[in-house]
Symmetry: C2
Subunit: 362 residues, 2 copies
């Protein structure tokens, strides 16, 4: 039994209602129902309708369910890139998408800035040959965001035929995207949706579908059970090609319901309030400082700070108070901390964390 | 709230202890822990050790976790077949593996018998050029099994360099395989392991790893995050490349514990007892008959019968008694039923089902 509150950047704290929904899932034996039954189709349709409402998603977008953001990276390249992709890189996850494209035999280009830095659209030259342009809205490793308003500028400078991808793995539902300025967005449920891991959600428009069809027509293999055409066809029938993670789909629909009841405006506002509390604390602290210098690029959902004390030490000090924060990513493990600011985290939990960090004199 | 007992062939009845394990998972916040933590590595190692013991798996086999059997089919072809695969086909799932190979651009060969029929090893000519030979131990759509003892004959007649694959999606842990006569076996957790769907388990030996390395060395792309070399490397460190379905991995380890406590011999014996009860009932019934004529080929875990009354009608009659059976697969939806006989189903539950089917006069 643990009462620990997880401020780790995903898997993270579960949304407060997950426990009750899991109990009702077990009582209703959701883990036993057929994935070809009407009951499953209703669960699928419910999750999609809820997400459309929460994200204010235009009708020309499909909502697809895969296993992870890793899988989405791979399927995106496999289904949408014949020759070449282009990537903004400023941390481990944006770099990984870039690497995956190369591992699948594509020509890859990147515009890279150091870990912890952001991008200025006017400095980014996107090659005319890029078929997929990968933006990283929120780099979970470094805590750097792309301001939502900048995305339209990338759309302007990207080749007209290219597909603009936005990684919002650890930021949605906070960012208020203009989905007309992009072609695809994706996220993982174990970040801001406060669910157990095992599901990646892929939003893509009709231009992605058309490109996949065109590649397929030219004789290129898009894969097998998880090609975009198959996923879209099955998805429109509220089905998946394989037996999916039914339980998580059920929980997603329920949590999205709860988020809709709360209202996206309130969720956004609370996210901003909590982010302000955390950054204010970091600015004043003598042991921490925000890792991202430029305030315009600071993530609101995965907040990274330089630290004098490694996260492992801090977590030992926080353990008696039932709290855990994230360590820095990769080689920043001991010199940075990461604090998740997700919808599952309440204002009072954040206040308690900051109070303890201050009281500990660290 | 439902007390329905699911005799559907997967997703199916959850193993009786899953409810308690899920409760303890939620109390211990397994859904929130980092997939890079020692706690996760322990969960991973525990599931692997339990499976090794339950299945009596030799040390030269790796245990890998993917998202579904569909994914395992695709990764197998992508990682292990340069030119050509060969498939035994006698139903929808064995056919799907064959199709996936073609969709990935490989040359495919098959030996096909009609739905509901089995294979005689002496009649199967495996081409010398086959790199992967796909056997279907248990065809979930038609209820046909390959007798375990026949597998050695396929190994004899298959090209020496070829990799012998055994689909045990809906039969393990019952079959007592000689793992030295094959190179890979795989199953889904929502069948005989009585878990929620969202995890495919892939067992493969050092010959598979060597072949994947050889293809990679020759410049062939094996994919990206889920190549065999990456999965094996991460797996040996009790990790996965992506954030996996942590909760299901935890539940798998716990259920396998319970199965080991019960003992594989008892599980096998009970499976055989229940299968005999069901087949005896079907033989005597005037409304059903076993769909598989040859008793040597009858599945013990997914039992298929021809029916005069469609499953949808039967399930309406069974609903007041809190029971559900599976319909026939695909075009057999109304003319066949499928009864799952998994470790989660107790002898008394099976007796109750047969009693009701008899009492209903059907």
């Amino acid at each position: 039994m643990t009462n620990k509150v997880f401020f780790t950047p995903g898997p993270s704290e579960l949304y407060p209602t997950v426990l009750a929904h899991m109990q009702s899932a077990m009582e209703n034996k959701i883990g036993s129902i057929s994935h070809r039954s009407q009951q499953f189709k209703d669960i699928y349709a419910h999750a999609v309708a809820g997400l459309r409402r929460l994200l204010q998603l235009p009708d020309n977008y499909e909502v697809l369910f895969l296993s992870s953001a890793n899988e989405i990276w791979e399927r995106a390249i496999q289904n949408l890139v014949q020759e070449e992709s282009f990537h903004l890189v400023n941390g481990s996850f944006s770099k990984r998408f870039y690497e995956i494209s190369a591992e699948l035999g594509k020509k890859t280009n990147k515009f890279e800035v150091p870990f912890g830095e952001g991008f200025r659209p006017e400095e980014v030259a996107i090659p005319d040959t890029a078929e997929l342009v990968a933006l990283i809205h929120n780099e979970t490793s470094s805590g750097v965001s792309i301001p939502v308003a900048d995305i339209a500028q990338y759309r302007q400078s990207a080749p007209k035929e290219s597909l603009l991808f936005v990684d919002a793995v650890s930021s949605l539902p906070h960012p208020e995207f203009d989905y007309n300025q992009m072609d695809s967005v994706y996220f993982s449920v174990q970040k801001c949706f406060g669910l157990p891991a095992g599901l990646g959600v892929w939003l893509l428009n009709e231009r992605c579908l058309a490109k996949a069809h065109a590649l397929q027509k030219s004789g290129i293999s898009l894969g097998s059970y998880h090609t975009i055409p198959v996923l879209v066809e099955k998805g429109r029938a509220h089905q998946t090609p394989e037996t999916p993670n039914v339980l998580n789909l059920y929980l997603l629909g329920k949590v999205v319901d709860d988020m809709n009841k709360k209202g996206i405006a309130t969720i956004r506002q609370e996210t901003e309030t909590k982010a302000r509390l955390i950054y204010d604390f970091l600015e004043k602290s003598k042991n921490f400082e925000p890792a991202v210098q430029n305030t315009a690029f600071r993530s609101l959902t995965t907040i990274v700070a330089n630290t004098r004390i490694p996260a492992a030490e801090l977590n030992k000090l926080l353990a008696p108070y039932d709290m855990a924060i994230g360590s820095g990513y990769g080689s920043y493990k001991d010199t940075q901390i990461r604090i998740a600011n997700f919808p599952a985290h309440t204002v009072s939990q954040v206040e308690a964390l900051l109070y303890e960090l201050e009281s500990l004199g660290v």
